[in-house]
Symmetry: C2
Subunit: 309 residues, 2 copies
């Protein structure tokens, strides 16, 4: 399996050696590892190919939010005893899908026997100086997100609990779960403008609270960045729209802050990279995260993504 | 847990950010990931602290064999539901033990829920130009190992199957399983002399066969590098000495080749680093791995370490 992902450029070691070699660039090595575990991260309907692709997407999403270009990744697999060759081939295809999509080299990994599917993706990239942190937001900064929320939680409701959805919305929602699409290009384009940022993989509310806590600020939100169709899906299935938007997770969008003076330029940069930058609030001194709608203020709780079961 | 391992030097990111930053050095980034899975890698008697330490040791061992200095590591944990805080603290202590022992920085990681303990260690280091490969052995090169074999398989027989051992040997054997000690210093000192090398974590026979296959050579062995006391332990427990030495695994020693002309200098370098370099055979053109003892030649089978269960 490990040799399946195609030839590496000059300067890289061959796959299958005991360690991988990557040509170093000046500055900093950016390093990240993220573990996908079957029973919490692989919903019904997700193929092995999609699971492998997702494990890589989880790392790419962090690189995108931090504005660092990923270079290479390794994947360690824990495989169920008696896993079929077809499943193993599917995993290799998923790694190759991800490598192509985000332009990142698969440089090796190892396989082990485990009681459920486990995929640990370790990713290495480079940054000339530093990367965007969680702690750089100041009062007055505009809170922005790189897209609309609610599709993956809606998709999980469909896949896990049989929630009903109309054709087009249902496909979009489930697809957002099965094949997450962190926008690396947008992350790299936005990085010069972001004063703080992280990805939204644990949910929008969790990300906002983390930025608030680490930056020593609070946020006043005035916009609910709900995806098209999420509100009617919520109504049809007796779900709370705000929960789907704030508490869902798995969106792999960027949540960050920009100076008001650069908002226009940041929006233009995002647009050139195929993303839409949505301002949803503003940072303030008071350390609370509040959503104000129709003159009514409500605290947003710091609750994130919950396990599949 | 993730903040437990002490302060990092200047130029490194703080633990707990979404990605870790490591000051880059010139040349190549050396990258490795290795997954420890409870039911195959954690024998009875191994504490959580020792398991975490072992996960790091598994990566360090590869860096040692390749002659590359590790710089930093991340650890991803899959933890059983309901794991105690004490166990989590033990895991952090094990990472700290390993970091101190081998001078490598813990820069972050993540925790997840899994059906058994899984620890994936990802390690990054630097090499000015390249590292020792598996494929550089030529006919005439001397086959060397950096210590004696048979302690870990004996220890596993004691821990898993209740084999009997005298006090001192028993402690040494079980300790070698519970706290593997790859000799990084010796690996770095030997690297300039090694024409090919890898670690012996999958067993001596497997390592020799891999070097043979990748280098396109065979090996004629004339010495059985059995640890002191392994022969009498084998006899007392009706085990086959050669199996304990060749097929055991988990030794985390280096198996490699050196030019005959540099053997003396390589031995001196190993000794200065606290290791004993044992010549055990020679590479030849015929692609067979043969052990000759008392005038009788036997093929050594390519069999490695087998799972704990």
């Amino acid at each position: 399996m490990m040799k399946a992902a195609g030839k590496l450029p000059r300067g890289y070691s061959e796959i299958g050696e005991d360690v991988a070699l990557i040509p170093a660039k000046k500055g900093r090595v950016v390093f990240k590892t993220d573990m996908l575990v079957e029973h919490t991260d692989v919903p019904p309907g997700m193929t092995y190919r999609q699971a492998a692709r997702k494990a890589v997407a989880m790392c790419v999403s962090d690189f995108a939010a931090k504005g660092a270009k990923p270079d290479s990744f390794m994947a360690s697999f824990g495989l169920r005893k008696g896993v079929s060759q077809k499943d193993v081939d599917e995993l290799a295809l998923g790694l190759a899908d991800a490598g192509r999509r985000w332009g990142v080299h698969f440089v090796g990994g190892d396989t082990n026997e485990a009681e459920e599917l486990v995929i640990d993706c370790a990713m290495v990239g480079f940054a000339e100086k530093t990367v965007t942190t969680r702690s750089g937001a100041s009062p007055g900064d505009v809170l922005v997100v790189t897209g609309e929320f609610g599709y993956p939680p809606s998709g999980l409701e469909i896949l896990l609990h049989g929630a009903k959805a109309k054709g087009r919305f249902g496909r979009r929602a489930t697809q957002s779960v099965l094949e997450p699409r962190p926008n690396l290009k947008a992350g790299l384009a936005l990085a010069p403008f972001l004063t703080s940022a992280m990805d939204s993989s644990d949910g929008l509310a969790r990300s906002i609270h983390t930025l608030a806590r680490e930056s020593g600020v609070g946020f006043l939100l005035d916009t609910l960045p709900a995806g098209e169709g999420v509100e009617s899906f919520a109504a049809a299935n007796r779900l709370v729209l705000e929960n789907l938007v704030f508490q869902g997770g798995e969106e792999y969008l960027i949540v960050g802050t920009v100076k008001r003076s650069t908002l226009e330029a940041a929006s233009a940069a995002a647009e050139r990279a195929g993303a839409r930058l949505l301002p949803i609030g503003v940072a303030h001194k008071e350390r609370k995260v509040v959503f104000r709608k129709d003159g009514v203020s409500r605290r947003i709780r710091d609750m994130g993504w919950t396990h599949l079961r």
